[in-house]
Symmetry: C2
Subunit: 230 residues, 2 copies
DNA sequence: GTCTATAACCTGATAGAC
DNA sequence: GTCTATCAGGTTATAGAC
């Protein structure tokens, strides 16, 4: 039994990686419908036939591109939160700390992999219909963990309002992700950390502030929202 | 000289309006590349040839769809701010009032015309390249007016930080615009006003809060960001 | 201004040689 | 696993009758 030729295996990996890297860049820039398999194969320097061979369909390639990048960032968010809670012992974790766990991993990852985070923002804001299910399965459990933590830190803010405010926070983060690659100063680590800290401050201020509308006057807000069936 | 036959003119208007209404719904839902002229013409019940006749190209139709909906909302924002400043006489307009002028028109318009605001959010977050110039020309002057007002209300917050925070605020608003149509409770006027007031409160808290990073430690932030040339 | 027909081209996916 | 060739169906835009 001969050893598997390493060069072939390495070449396969390289091909698939080139494909995924190119996919996240082009899909992030132009969207699912804006990119054809030809453009993708050409830019990745992969043959068109080979490109469809590896994932079977354009949709499957798109979903895999999303999964590859999203899973580690999401896991890191949850890991940070768990660390913070372990470290706090029985004490409460502050809103600011929770917000930092939510925001820091995608923020930093976004600066190291701007192409992926533009792609990610696109999928969280305006996902093509076929990826809806996959996103929800990956994202929603984590959201609930953070909402629960915020509820412990701020029991006076109703849960539906925490959902609404978390949605606003996500909007701020995604807005930044989209524009980060256009900000020349973001190469500078000091600028990065300053912007991150300001973002954490902004979101924390909004999240921990007292409810504006008295609970007695506020109807149950429609959160979390149900995505539409298509 | 005979009077222009009114029925023909009315029919033209109806055709163009149907076309634009359908365009904003479909483009908002599926994006520029996700909608073909055939789908558009079919859903608008306009002949394919007639559809291309009126605007000459798909891109021109897209741009006109954007302009028709965006101009009145943007104008209303600026009008409200000017009213507030007139009413204040020589006194300062509060951050909360400025935020309300920024947010209320698009928020309310978004609930009355959810299709357009999904389309609008798409264009502000991930515009197709050909509409970049038109958006900037329409949007940026208004942004500067609001930044200037905020600077008067909060001279202690540096201007680049106000830009950053306004970007976060826009993210919250657009995030809401995208999901508004999936929130069943938003038919209820009381829920609407409660959500709007909470959004104003959230954004105001973030905007008026003291800078996190001392000015001496913060490098000049890269705001406003320059859009990429393509 | 509306319609049909068509030009010129692009799309994702596949079959089959290598 | 890579490549070429090809299929069936989609795309925008236009020419010309009415």
């Amino acid at each position: 039994m001969r050893a598997k030729p390493q060069s072939v295996s390495a070449k396969d990996l390289a091909t698939v990686t080139r494909l995924l890297d190119t996919a996240e860049r082009l899909f992030g820039e132009l969207g699912y419908d804006g990119v054809g398999m030809r453009m993708l194969a050409d830019e990745a320097k992969v043959n068109l036939g080979a490109a469809t061979y590896h994932y079977g369909s354009k949709e499957a390639l798109y979903i895999e591109t999303f999964m590859r990048g999203f899973r580690p960032v999401n896991a890191e968010r949850l890991r940070l939160l768990q660390d913070a809670e372990t470290q706090a012992g029985g004490k409460l974790v502050s809103v600011e700390k929770i917000v930092e766990c939510m925001i820091r991993p995608p923020f930093e990852s976004g600066l190291e992999h701007p192409a992926f985070h533009k792609f990610l923002a696109r999928n969280l804001l305006m996902p093509p219909p076929f990826i809806h299910a996959a996103i929800e399965k990956e994202l929603l459990p984590g959201v609930e963990v953070f909402i629960a933590a915020l509820k412990r830190a701020r029991p006076d803010v109703p849960e539906d309002l925490l959902h609404l405010r978390s949605m606003f926070a996500m909007g701020a983060l995604l807005m930044f992700s989209i524009h980060a690659s256009e900000m020349p100063g973001m190469n500078n680590p000091k600028s990065r950390e300053a912007v991150l800290r300001e973002m954490i401050g902004y979101v924390t201020a909004g999240l921990k502030s007292a409810p504006v509308v008295p609970a007695s006057e506020r109807p149950r807000l429609p959160f979390p929202p149900k995505p539409p069936k298509r």
